[in-house]
Amino acid sequence: MEDLAEAAINAGLDAGASFVDIRIENTVTTILEMTDGVTKRSMASRLKGAGIRAFVDGAWAFAQNTDLTLDGMREVGTSVAKLAIATREKVSEKFEIEGPVFTAKEKMVVKKPFQDVSIDDKISFVKQIDKQAREYDERVVNTRTVYGDLWTELFVVNSLGTSIYHENYLPRIISVVTAREGNNRQRGFLSIGAQGGFEEMEKERPQNLGTEASKLAIDLLSSKAAEGGVYDVVMDPILNGVMVHEAFGHAAEADNWPAHATVLEDKVGECVGPDNLNLSDDPTMPRERGSFSYDWEGTKTRKRHLVKGGILTELLHSLETASRLDMEPNGAARAQSFMYPPLPRMSNTFMEPGDWDKDELIVDTKNGILLCGFNYGYTEPAKGQFMFQANYGYMIQNGEIGQMVRDVSLAGQILEVLPKIDAIANDFELDSGTCGKGGQGVPDMTGGPHARIIQVPVGGM
């Protein structure tokens, strides 16, 4: 692969680009999906190709190529450089791409590589989870189980001299259960993702995920729609993670700075929350779904302390944003596949634990709502507005957990919500997800401890 990369890079430089980089990817995935005990999707794929970027005077061009021959690579290297040159006169700012050089070749060692596990064994696992979910309760009317595994080898080379080869193994299991009682229909959705081989799916929780999802759907049958209003909200670790991700993490992605598209623009080094608030993004955590040792530009990653003691201290950088903002690159550039250019993204994002006992936190909440789990969320960093929806929750009255409620949404402003965090518990949990930005989905983890936000608008029916 070295010679293919070199051919494209040299062609791009020869055509007049000042910086060229390339990602050559070979990815094999399996997805097995079962509904009500029947196979709905048995799917295998191979993604094979290269994504090439050329840069000159502040203008970027990107092209993808699946013709992995020397001639094919030379041709696309030349054409992508020409595309960058064609738009160089219309850029707002001239700058150069600089950055540290890394070279490494890292194989990932896992106990059970996916290619060594037979399709039959993988299908048995899916059958088991789907059966558990169906047999949990007679009110379960539909079950859906999805197993996915992805092995990828990625080769990143750039014209500064970086050359990184690494691998990744990501398994995932999802259980979705619909339960019904009369006209009342409820859905339980749970997923577990990790980094590692098939052995990650043989642990206790993934082996019982169908039961857990069914229990959630059945419990939701006796939930009520929450009354909309302004509440003191206690977030569980999963929802807290979503809050950190949506209400803060996206706004800390450094490509928002040159774009003037974040409310945090003037806040670097400033106070954005209480002094016991610490928010981190850490791709170096062992065996997590959002972990990687080098990013998609070949930069070595490290833990990012986005907020430390309530102060915004660090952003999520690509080579471009670090060059333009004159900050240290920290390996946050990610791409969904070779078909997309890398963008600054989160990895494993969380609130660091505090010192409250979580039970005491509930007891201390007079009239509020405990929000748990997560349906979805999104944010508009330029406006500072975010929204996310909990899967379920419980009313809290006089420090006691009461009626279960469902589909509760929370909306707010980034700069207004963090200062309203008044208590952070000492527990910690991460949940697996997929984050979308610019049409690209990447695997990530979000989480933290239980934490309380006071007086926020909560939408109900």
Binding site: R46, F62, E93, R187, A382, Q455
Partner: protein
């Protein structure tokens, strides 16, 4: 190009039968897409993609396997075919599977899906169009700090579908999309907005209009306030209707979701589910429609299907699997994410029949309430519960827009959204998921703070 892509599909089908599949289907496509991205009022990047690939569905008895590859190389396709057959052999039989579709009649023709000007668009021309849009946004925002993002993307592609029951079809189409999204900042406020157009034809993209309208929209968003909550009427502008009706209702009439009991309208077939003024059809053959096509993603002919007439739920959307299972006619609504996925079901052009009046007329008639211009939210498809943030919207009183709203949520069940539709405007706009005017409902729970 069309013949070549179709040949590859035909050959993959033959290979799958040779490897032991009882039935087989291949979906091949080749797309060239081109995009220019603007950031902070100037060009940031240009992208050119050539994406070709092949997806194979192999059937052994009632067991199905699928594999795809991101190239059109013979050896890669052979590997995918082998895998699809192997996966079919390892799967659990689906008793409800009857057969892949077959069709021997003539196919409808749909005009206006291909525009040579889009196919031939150069990077310089594309850059010029998007810059004109951005300039128009900047000209219409005076004395305020502004950073505009914009994007122009054009696609031109061929897709082919072949199966072992004789389906063998290919079609060529183009699509062009452009938006301008200014962010403005004053001493005490910061806000954004957005305007877009999407079309099959280059000459229907008007960058000056997009730029002008984006500027109007963002200026109108300054000074957002929260309001006193309660039960209030809501008017969904076309973009908000796109999310709530297009995705939120379009996804509920998916026959597969209904068959599994996962849709909030599962028991409502033939019932009065909506206000009498609401009429929705799925129009697969609309001239130049964004989602028009002569045949669906399984190669079955497209058609027009009435969904809601006088408020009554008339039909569901089917692909070959769900139609066979219910023993009803296939409505030709198989959809898939290109070569990389199995068919599911989605609307083609989901069309809300226009009524009377502009958005201003609806505001005047309703009197007091919220205009929701845009929301990113979707209902819970099983319960129908919807809790939607007003991403952009206004509060109105005495028939006049008073101010934008912030941190405001609309809470309502989808069944009530449909039932409470009282007015349908005539301000039709095409979005990715719907062709709809503004729609007013008489009440929803509003929370703001």
């Amino acid at each position: 190009m069309k013949e070549q892509i179709l040949d590859i599909a035909d050959n993959a089908v033959k290979l799958a039968t040779k490897f032991g599949a009882d039935q087989a289907e291949a979906y091949t496509s080749f797309t060239r897409s081109f995009s220019i991205e603007v950031e902070n009022n100037a060009i940031k990047s240009a992208t050119e993609k050539r994406d070709g690939g092949c997806g194979i569905r192999a059937v052994v008895g009632k067991k199905i396997g699928f594999a795809y590859v991101t190239t059109l190389e013979e050896n890669d396709i052979k590997e995918a075919v082998e895998q699809a057959v192997a996966l079919a052999n390892a799967s659990v039989a689906d008793p409800d599977f009857v057969s892949l579709p077959s069709y021997e009649g003539s196919y409808p023709s749909v005009e206006g899906l291909f525009d040579k000007d889009v196919k031939d668009l150069t990077s310089e021309e594309a850059a010029d169009i998007v810059v004109r849009g951005v300039d128009s946004t900047l000209e219409n925002i005076k004395n305020i700090k502004v950073a505009t993002e914009a994007l122009l993307t054009s696609n031109s592609g061929v897709r082919a579908i072949a199966n072992s029951l004789g389906i063998s079809q290919a079609s060529e189409s183009t699509l062009i999309f452009m938006y301008s999204a200014p962010a403005i900042k004053t001493d005490d406020d910061q806000t954004t907005s957005y305007e877009f157009q999407i079309s099959r034809r280059l000459d229907e993209i008007d960058p000056e209009y997009i730029g002008y309208k984006a500027a109007q929209n963002v200026l109108g968003n300054l000074g957002g306030k929260s309001i006193e909550g309660g039960e209030l009427p809501v008017i969904f502008a076309p973009l908000a209707a796109s999310g709530i009706i297009g995705f939120g209702f379009g996804g509920a009439v998916n026959a597969e979701e209904v068959q599994y009991g996962r849709s909030y309208i599962s028991d409502a077939f033939g019932d009065q589910i909506a206000g009498e003024v609401l009429e929705i059809t799925d129009e697969g053959l609309l001239t130049a429609g964004i989602s028009s096509r002569p045949f669906d993603a399984e190669g079955y002919p497209s058609q027009r299907t009435e969904i809601i007439g006088s408020g009554v739920l008339k039909n569901l959307l089917h692909n070959s699997y769900t139609a066979n299972k219910d023993k009803v006619d296939n409505t030709g609504n198989a959809s898939r994410p290109g070569y990389s996925g199995l068919p599911s079901i989605s609307p083609s052009n989901f069309v809300v029949t226009p009524g009377n009046g502009s958005l201003d007329d609806l505001v005047d008639e309703v009197g007091r309430g919220i205009v929701c211009l845009n929301t990113g939210d979707r209902p819970n498809m099983t319960t129908g519960d919807l809790s939607a943030m007003v991403m952009e919207g206004h509060y109105f009183e005495n028939g006049e827009i008073k101010h934008p709203v912030k941190s405001t949520l609309i809470g309502i069940n989808m069944r009530d959204v449909l039932k409470r539709v009282t007015l349908v405007g005539s301000d039709v706009k095409a979005t990715f998921s719907i062709i709809s005017p503004s729609i007013a409902i008489d009440s929803a729970k509003i929370t703001s703070g």
